[in-house]
């Protein structure tokens, strides 16, 4: 039984598989006329969002509401948060309100860890800076399992700005825990220094996307931000796109069954071309739908057991 989900490292293999299994049951209820479950009736779930992320916020809201929890959303805009109230004072407020769980999105790595030290409820990391986004990794694993039948033994390329990507970090941890092989691909400037030594078993690094693609079951494209170019991580968007973007030519290098994933929002024409993003191999839309089921499963797991 885990109390918080701060990092994908918090999940051992059995717990992770348990979440995916429960998510599958949750997904089954999404097709019903009555989608709501009474499971978390009377519980309070707070979405504490210090960053704009409509898609993640809505996904957490939908998940909590489907489980009949009372949902309160604090976003940085229009609350005391933007007026400079400290995270600690906000935490004390949430504690006083009796929040059973807080899903926090924050630009600073480790903010969820701090919050977990200040409140008695469960904390879910909904993305902290360049650290982790564990529910994204869970929904990605869920998507792989539903498309390809299993996660163990898959070879997954995670391509792009690994250095600044919380999605990459969480996926690296979770997918290797689940027995997948992970290849991190990107320009050396966007891969953390010394990462080779820190990689879990089953993970490796490559700078050559074309060489990696033919042996991949999954290719996960990461969003690359324009600021990185200004900071000299790469010379130009055009060069980035040529070396690390997924276009139709590169997609043809993939095995027949391989799928293309993207956590969104996409920069069409930079890390992924429109033909690829809209192709049958692309799971972008499913990933969004699966997000709700996975977050329901996580809320159930964290909240079910601790009153």
């Amino acid at each position: 039984m885990i109390k918080h989900l701060l990092s994908a490292d918090d999940l051992d293999r059995d717990t992770a598989i348990g979440i995916l299994d429960i998510a599958e049951r949750m997904a089954a209820t999404a097709g019903r006329e009555i989608k709501k479950l009474p499971t978390l009736r009377g519980r309070t779930v707070v979405n504490l969002f210090y960053e704009d992320s409509t898609r993640t916020r809505i996904s957490f809201e939908a998940a909590a509401k489907r489980l009949s929890a009372d949902v309160i959303t604090f976003s940085a805009k229009g609350s005391s948060v933007s007026k400079g109230e400290s995270l600690k004072d906000t935490a004390l407020t949430l504690q006083a309100m009796g929040a059973d769980a807080v899903a926090i999105r924050h630009p600073a790595a480790g903010a969820p860890h701090r919050l977990a030290g200040w409140i008695s409820g469960s904390v879910l990391n909904a993305g902290d800076g360049t650290h982790e986004h564990p529910t994204q990794a869970l929904l990605d694993a869920y998507t792989m399992r539903s498309r390809l039948g299993h996660v163990e033994g898959l070879r997954v390329a995670i391509v792009g700005d690994v250095l600044h990507s919380r999605v990459a970090r969480s996926n690296l941890s979770l997918l290797t825990t689940l027995g997948a092989e992970v290849i991190l691909v990107g320009p050396p400037t966007l891969l953390p220094v010394g990462f080779e030594k820190a990689l879990p078993p089953g993970a490796s690094i490559s700078y050559d996307l074309d060489a990696v693609l033919p042996k991949c079951d999954v290719v996960m494209m990461l969003r690359v931000q324009r600021e990185r170019m200004i900071d000299s991580y790469f010379p130009s968007e055009r060069e980035y796109s040529r070396r690390y973007g997924l276009d139709r030519r590169r997609m043809a290098l993939l095995p027949e069954h391989a799928i293309v994933m993207h956590p969104g929002p996409m920069n069409r024409g930079i890390e992924i071309s429109s033909q690829v993003a809209d192709s049958a191999r692309s799971t972008v839309v499913e990933q969004v739908a699966n997000g709700v089921s996975v977050r329901m499963a996580v809320l159930y797991l964290l909240l079910g057991g601790n009153a």
Binding site: M1, R25, A28, R32, I34, G305, A307
Partner: protein, 232 residues
Amino acid sequence: MAGHARHPARKPVHGTDRDAPSETSPLQHVKSNTVSGIRGRTILTAADLGRIVDRMAHQILEKTDGATNTVLLGIPTRGVPLAARLAARIEAFEGRRVPCGTLDVTLYRDDLRLRGTRAVGPTAVPEDGIDARRVILVDDVLFSGRTVRAALDALSDIGRPSQVQLAVLVDRGHRELPIRADYVGKNMPTSRAESVRVLLREVDGVDAVLLATANSDGHSGVDGPRSERRSE
């Protein structure tokens, strides 16, 4: 339950002590033994179980006009194979195939805080659904009644049956809700400190019903009623 509300005074139909051959004297099963890794007194043997399921199938046929317009929904874990067995017996006796399904109630329980989260089982409703049909919920043990309460809620979220009935292998008493079964394999008076454990071939590799005292054996996997994983 739909049926009960209309007939509150009627006693549920079930095998009484007189007609259950295995119940001549509880004392004959007093010795403690270990079955399939579970230690406890054997209350029902495999042969007893076979006879009880046969009888329950007959009772269902009697009470449902030959099992017409009827669906059996087993509550995981052991209600599922029980439902399948009842369906098989009904088919053997009457030649009628009764649709069988699974109804997981985990997400509808009211005791998550007390007992913690557990794995969520599948819910599988027969193809033709349950609307306007008679649904018989099947479970292994009826205890507090909370599982059945959860099952009724779950049922109402997936359809609208014309009638809901309840079949249980063992009714051990100690109800906490106004719920009773329409078909009872065996009434078994117990103390709260005891724990009833139904073992089925499909799940446990052996057929038996055991009675264990809580915490008398740390290895038994059978503990007090509050934390018992599936005691109803």
